[in-house]
Amino acid sequence: MRVLIPSALHSYTGGPWVEATGGTVAEVLADLERQFPGIRFRMVDEQQRLRRHIRLFLHGDMLFDLEHPLPADGELCIVQALSGG
């Protein structure tokens, strides 16, 4: 599936859109980590919780569960939530 990467993580991917495989959010994040070592820990902490400013959207719906299933032909948008003024 296509995955949109927030600008703060382009140093890992080199650009905004990448391809990743997996049937769940966790599997797609694992594939991203395989392709771009280090990227997962910037988004998910060691207790498997999405970090405070990371948001995931599948076709406009926000996802909270790393075990949420993903369609192979979908688009997962990883967004860095803005905070502050």
């Binding site: 703060a8 993580l9 140093s11 070592p37 280090g38 820990f41 910037r42 988004m43 998910v44 902490d45 060691e46 207790q47 919780r49 970090r51 400013h53 990371i54 860095q80 939530a81 905070s83 502050g84």
Partner: protein, 383 residues
């Protein structure tokens, strides 16, 4: 990531800031400085340290406002950086205690000279980590991270410093790699005699804020602790409640800050020791009155030094602003070099970098308009 390929200085001043890192390359006279940076623009760099054992391995503890923490490593003085394969991270829940996540790595400490490649790291919230491969991969170290008693001493996030409680001042006895110290804001000073397998508090004589119980380790807030390079049996400490000295094997800290001028007080964060004289130290007092302004007292910044182990203190303010300067210096942001006339360096919360080539006698501004400076270290690179 790359930066300009230029000659490496004789002496480096490593500056970590809220918005990136800079490396100042100095000549032998410490008069000409080439500025290399920013590295990691936009990242919060909490500490930037060169391994004194190989003179080449540079570690940077990094985080950003929106992403998880990490660590970067360079073996060519910052021309190229590689991310740590496994940055410091806590383990899963253990001993019935709540699982924790590292917010940022705060303190980096190279290990013993006889253990090349060993580094220690202190984190926020309080955690102790170790790397055996030069900072590439890190693992929780010692049992303290998941020890019920230590968890109590850590306190809560509300008990710590404004940007999170911290484990800092990790010290390895140069005579014995098994002899370790660390300090926590808050949570006291701790010592291990068995290579970190166990630690015990070392807080006797340290004072706490009025109304709290000094017998409870939780309430102790050491800000910065240093071990004398010329006498590893002597420690100095800048605490939330004063400046202290401890001579081992004694266990009772002596509040030498009582000898500071009363109008200045002995509250502050950084503390620097002379490389060859265990009676000489420097501190940077700040205003810790009423609501804790955390500014230079009266808006008149100065380093204070002692040549007699803290019995008497002298003001070192020549060259610094005489008035209306309301910045201060954080606990990692003041350091010294090893030259015959010891050079002192500090970075301010307003982004200025100051230098003295004569042990505080005269100050010059090396740089201004940097981001808020979090840490300053000196280093002697090896080709």
């Amino acid at each position: 990531m790359t930066s300009e390929d230029r000659a490496v200085g004789t002496l480096l001043v490593l500056v970590a800031t809220r918005k990136g890192a800079w490396i100042f390359h100095g000549d032998a006279e410490r008069k000409c400085w080439r500025i290399d940076g920013p590295h990691f623009l936009g990242h919060i760099i909490h500490h930037l340290v060169l391994d004194p054992r190989d003179g080449r391995t540079l570690l940077a503890a990094a985080s950003t406002g929106h992403l998880g923490p990490t660590l970067f490593r360079s073996t060519d003085f910052g021309r190229n950086w590689q991310e740590a394969a496994r940055p410091p991270a806590f383990g899963p829940a253990a001993n019935g205690l709540e699982a924790r996540a590292v917010d940022h790595t705060f303190w980096l400490a190279p290990g013993h000279a006889g253990e090349p490649g060993v580094w220690y790291a202190g984190t926020s919230p309080q955690g102790l980590f170790r790397s055996g491969d030069g900072g590439v991969s890190w693992a929780p170290f010692s049992g303290i991270n998941d020890d019920a008693q230590y968890r109590q001493w850590f306190g809560t996030v509300q008990d710590g410093t404004p940007d999170g409680p911290k484990l800092h001042s990790i010290i390895v006895d140069p005579r014995d790699a098994q002899h370790l110290y660390f300090a926590m804001s808050g949570g006291g000073v701790h010592e291990s005699l068995d290579g970190g397998r166990s630690f015990a508090p070392l807080v006797e004589g340290m004072e706490v804020v009025a109304g709290f119980d000094a017998a409870d380790v939780t309430f102790h807030d050491p800000h910065c602790m240093r071990l004398c390079p010329s006498n590893p049996d002597r420690l100095y400490q800048q605490n939330h409640c004063g400046i202290y000295r401890l001579d081992r094997p004694g266990r009772r800290w002596q509040r030498i800050g009582r000898n500071m001028p009363a109008e200045i007080g002995d509250v502050g964060f950084p503390l620097v020791l002379h490389p060859r004289d265990d009676n000489t130290l420097w501190v940077f007092p700040m205003d810790g009155s009423d609501v804790w302004p955390r500014t230079s007292p009266g808006g008149q910044p100065a380093v204070y030094g002692s040549r007699d182990g803290g019995e008497t203190w002298q003001r070192h303010g020549i060259g610094l602003p005489a008035s209306q300067a309301w910045w201060t210096v954080k606990r990692q942001a003041m350091t010294g070099d090893r030259e015959a006339g010891v050079g002192l360096y500090f970075g301010t919360t307003s982004g200025e970098l100051w230098q003295s080539r004569d042990e505080g006698g005269q100050w010059e501004c090396m740089a201004s308009h940097l981001p808020e400076i979090y840490a300053v270290e000196t280093a002697y690179p090896q080709a």
